[in-house]
Amino acid sequence: MKRILGIALLLSIVYLLLFATPLQLEPVLKPTWAQNLANPVQRAQDDTTERVPFRVGNVFGFVTTGGAVRYLNTVQFGLALDRDRFINFSSVSTNLVVKDADGRIVASFAEHGYPMFLSGRLFVVSPSRTALSERDADGNLVWSREFGSIVTCLSATNDLLAVGLLDGTVAVLDRSGNVAWSYTPGGSRLAAVYGCALSSDDQILAIASGLDPQRVMIMSRNSSGYRRVRELALKDESRGRIFMHLFDRIPYLFIERPGSLMYVPIGIGRPGALPIPNGIIADVAPLAGGSLQLTAIRPNEGTVELLLLAPPDHIIGRLAFGGTTLSASGSEGSMYVGVDRELVRIDVLER
């Protein structure tokens, strides 16, 4: 008997030393405050200065972490929204005005096009969607380029800009707007690029291209550009933009598909998919701590859903709302969730 107990104890110690892993802490989602954007309550006691941008349907602005709505406006035709500035523009804009989180003008410039903030950089797309330019923080022109083909996707890092074109080419531009590398995936009966994603360190480039078959390629940077390291075919071919995501320290490529979020390991490993039944993915974004927030809309059911994921597909939190629009932005362990006209701060606490 003693011998059996001794062996059991020894095995337990060996197990604890070699195989035991800490229990995964489940997050607790704690609503902190809520604002009705149709009639926001002024919070005079809030003296927090950090502004968090938000866009909920056709309304946008900046809110403090304490819940004070510091700027609120309606989107004209389009909106370029960054962490601390925005450009609200009309469909026939010929003069673009950059404003800060309090609505003060910080720069303006004359250009016939539509602005986008990507990785903190300001780009302007021509109305024909065949030309791009970049502006600096003061609105000065850095470069401009005409492609002669419709731009279908963009992905920017600090140093590079990947441009996907309808003619089936991907061009990677440097900070001067010169083509540092270009690639035509080929291999499909109909050539077109539908999605592109650059990792923030420029080491990985993902491309979704072609019809019959439609394929995703994961490419790794080398001395001459990028080389293909992985490729897979997509079922349910899309004929519009395919949103793909690469996040820091998360070794997966995420691909938004109809009714699911697909994930592909950057290295070896099998792809998988998280089903989002009857849902249309609105966005996927990283949260502090390595988790992801996924927002989905179910128009047929009149509901919207926010999922917290431990990558790649483990749901660790879920919130559902009645509504038709949903947006979420993250900041330091909190989410700012907009549902129709409501904006809610939800803190993500580990239990």
Binding site: R55, S91, P127, S128, L166, A192, F243
Partner: protein, 300 residues
């Protein structure tokens, strides 16, 4: 024969010559709407860019593919993360012969959700005013995917008869950023001068002034060609879109002095009498032409 009939016959003859000289096959594509009214032509000024297609009004808003093909791309403007566009809701169809066509400014919600292929009898959307359109119309573009060019759709569509001639509003010499309009007989000093032609093709389908770009502008001096531009195609080279034609291949900034004024290169004016001829043609083969006698004095 009446004068109108003579003009019509001459116009048809010119149109036939234009068709024969065209690098693309007229009639290869069908008009995407019934009873089309042309309101903007290929190459027209659009702010600081060329219009890379044509704009069409239609009494019947149903839009059909110009030819059978596969839907290669569609945009419905329903994801705020996507790249904003002045094209509005649009569809691109691949016709399997290097040609792709684009149908823009479609009415919101009118593009069928599951459309993958289309025949000319299908409805792929309805004429709308999405994007940067200031009124309902269809933007129609043609791409040659092999040569990476935007083609003038009028060279592939059945011809629209147009009786109205293009308007040659004036011809100018430009020196030191100053414009001097030429009269039938004008003095000028010797030396280099840029030539600027003011011209447009009036749309006869609308009841307001709607100057469209002409199809071709040709300048000759003393019977010798100086410059010409023909809006056959546009192609990006070195990051800039250029007119592709048998004549000059200018960028937008090189060509357009303003919405209806075209920079047609430089003249070297030698002392003596110089005969300048300017001819403007529209897509239907109508022509406006003027001759100028320039008396050039001084040393070059």
């Amino acid at each position: 024969m009446t004068i109108v009939s003579l003009r019509g016959a001459a116009g048809l003859a010119l149109l036939a010559a234009w068709v024969i000289a065209s690098p693309h096959t007229v009639g290869a594509l069908d008009w995407p709407v019934s009873q089309p009214s042309l309101t903007a032509t290929f190459g027209e000024e659009r702010g600081d860019q060329f219009l890379s297609g044509i704009e069409i009004d239609a009494a019947d808003p149903r839009v059909h593919p110009s030819d059978a093909g596969q839907v290669i791309f569609s945009y419905r403007g329903d994801d705020p993360r996507d790249i904003p566009t002045g094209l509005g809701d649009f569809v691109v169809i691949d016709h399997g012969n290097a040609l792709r066509t684009l149908y823009g400014h479609l009415r919101s919600g009118s593009i069928p959700r599951s459309i993958t292929s289309a025949s000319p009898s299908d409805v792929i959307g309805r004429v709308g005013d999405t994007g940067d359109a200031t009124g309902p119309h269809l933007l129609f573009e043609v791409f040659d995917r092999t040569n990476h060019e935007s083609l003038n759709p009028l060279k592939a569509l059945p011809p629209l008869a147009g009786a109205a001639s293009p308007v040659l509003a004036g011809v100018f010499l430009e020196r030191d950023k100053q414009l001097f309009e030429l009269a039938a007989q004008s003095p000028a000093s010797a030396g280099r001068a840029a030539i600027v032609v003011a011209a447009y093709d009036p749309s006869e389908y609308v009841d307001y002034f709607d100057p469209m770009a002409p199809y071709r502008i040709e300048v000759t001096l003393n019977g010798k060609p100086v410059s010409s531009v023909t809006f056959d195609a546009l192609k990006a080279e070195g990051g800039k879109l250029r007119v592709v034609s048998s004549g000059s291949t200018p960028t937008f900034d090189e060509l357009y002095a303003s919405a209806t004024r075209y920079r047609m290169g430089d003249l070297e004016l030698q002392p003596g009498e110089q005969a300048l001829d300017v001819k403007v043609s529209d897509y239907a083969g109508n022509v406006a032409e003027r001759s100028y006698l320039i008396t050039v004095e001084g040393a070059p």
